[in-house]
Symmetry: C2
Subunit: 342 residues, 2 copies
């Protein structure tokens, strides 16, 4: 019997004494039986978050047996794969096994899906002891089940693209979606980290949204050559994004300042340069997890810069489908992604 | 001799090995001598940022002597008052002592001004050991000097309002200005920390911008009574903003979810609740310096929440004058501010 009523956030599966959201919980209820708005997935693969896997690798000095043992321990203890050190999870691939009668996710039994919410809040049971994984690498073959809540997100994997390629696109699909929302016809758009996964997608999204000029900023010439070959930016500029004055000057020289600046590079200290590279009245979208809230807020104030600053929300409705379309339509994007998987 | 050329951002006073903006710098050059576009202020008072002061208070268990000693240490070591933990600063009041021949700020010697850029990027020398401060409270009597750059902002204190009152309004003038930009006719607006300084101003700004319903969220009944008396919110709700479900339910009960949620309360952990209290397609404005970028970004993604999240930029052109007008026009706001100063 399901005594508690379900909540779309998954609150009803939190076992902690203090009521917190699943992501913040120490332990989740992993019972197989579904609440009416839930979906159960038969898991085939876990995709561990890079920061999490790296921490485990360091801790166990690369010993695959011990890494595997710790992942099993974490999932058994917490009912979810959330690295206690990094707080991060990852995503998973699997097949829909059962759909609750009131699930709003639009999934059907048999759909092959990737989850777009973090493993750090997804109830998970591993049933094969991860026998197919040697503990080396973030891709973890796995038999078991996971549960999605009413408000979770999962995307059906497309038939026309290799699963790994689709997955790596879905992993960053929030960035191009938000970029497309912000960019208007004729705008100048600068993307910091333009040759990376989220950066190249953002450049492609900006162009599709009608940007008048796109500027890709990369940290060194090798990345610049890649981006130039891919043909995704009108201007490719090599600059250190942590040096605010160098960044400002580089963007201005390439036709800026930018109406929209998208920060996609995962190094700390890019806030000031991004603000200075942006025109008065323009917008900065921060997609890097290395962004400091205080550095952005106080940086803009300290520069008397009238810019709108957005926290890059990884969720925009339809983001996964749109990102896959972008990849299909743009051979430059596809080329960059395939190169990264090779 | 001034070897380096001045930059309006204050770059020429950064002493770090790596070239960063003054806000990000470990240490600033506090020499008295001015570059041609600078202004020197004789300081009479520092106004520490609330999050910064509270951190110091917690760290030193309210011991005023030790709090004062740490502020002195920070300013001596860094050449600016920037709390290393919170990254935030505050503002100052003083009198213009010298104006560089190429200063664009329009100030004259003898003007009594408040700085509207953060202390976290303002070169500062304390000359009286803060002898007039007992370490209790954010208002710090201080004799010393500070330097403004070409791009800094300072406002001359108005004649018709007591200085303390004007100052405490200017301190938070970015919040109502940005709120007014985001709120449209008929919207439901929730302000978390509605009885506080930035919160009450934001409520007043939302109403003036045409909000259909304003909801003020406060942590306990005493604050609720204050806010009710001031008449600034259509609904006053007592809720713990760190409890996401309690906050969501409280806002919904008061007529939400909100089209715009403004976070003005300086405690960590309010991101999830603010996101859940906001309608799909709505906007969350984070004005609290206690905001975590990662908690906001991952929180929204984990909840599949399609909300626009803004980093509260403390600078909007005309913000100080607008905020003073709001105070003059709204007796409820004035009452709350005067009460806080009493």
């Amino acid at each position: 019997m399901l005594a508690r009523e379900s909540d779309p956030t998954g609150l009803h599966r939190v076992l902690d004494d203090r009521l917190v959201l699943p992501q913040a919980a120490q332990r989740l209820d992993t019972r197989r039986e579904l609440w009416p708005d839930e979906v159960r997935i038969r898991v085939e693969k876990l995709n561990l978050d890079a920061a999490s896997f790296r921490q485990l690798e360091r801790k166990h000095a690369g010993d695959g047996e011990r890494i595997r043992a710790e992942v099993l321990e974490i999932v058994a203890a917490r009912g979810k794969m959330q690295n206690p050190e990094t707080g991060s999870g990852g995503m998973l691939v699997g097949t829909v096994e059962e759909v609750g009668e009131r699930s709003p996710l639009g999934l059907s039994v048999g759909d092959r899906v990737a989850t777009l919410v973090s493993l750090s809040l997804t109830p998970l049971v591993i049933e094969d002891g991860l026998a197919g994984w040697d503990g080396h690498g973030e891709q973890v073959p796995c038999n078991g089940y996971a549960v999605l809540f009413g408000r979770s997100i999962a995307a059906v994997l497309p038939d026309d693209l290799p699963a790994d390629l689709a997955l790596s696109v879905m992993d960053v699909c929030g960035a191009p979606a938000l970029t497309a929302r912000v960019v208007e016809e004729g705008m100048t758009v600068a993307v910091i980290g333009g040759a990376g996964k989220s950066g190249s997608m953002s450049l492609a999204a900006a162009r599709r949204a009608g940007a008048g000029r796109t500027i890709g900023i990369v940290p060194h010439q090798a990345e610049g050559d890649l981006l130039t070959q891919a043909g995704l930016a009108d201007e490719v500029v090599v600059a250190d994004a942590r040096d605010p004055i160098a960044l400002r000057d580089a963007v201005v020289k390439a036709g800026g300042p930018a109406d929209v600046t998208v920060v996609c590079v995962d190094v700390p200290g890019c806030e000031g340069g991004a603000i200075l590279a942006t025109a008065e009245g323009g917008t900065v979208v921060f997609f890097s997890m290395a962004t400091s809230f205080a550095a952005a807020a106080l940086g803009a104030e300290g520069l008397a810069a009238d810019v709108t600053m957005l926290v890059g929300n990884g969720y925009v409705p339809g983001h996964a489908a749109d990102a896959l379309d972008l990849l299909r339509a743009d051979s430059g994007v596809r080329q960059l992604f395939e190169r990264r998987l090779a």
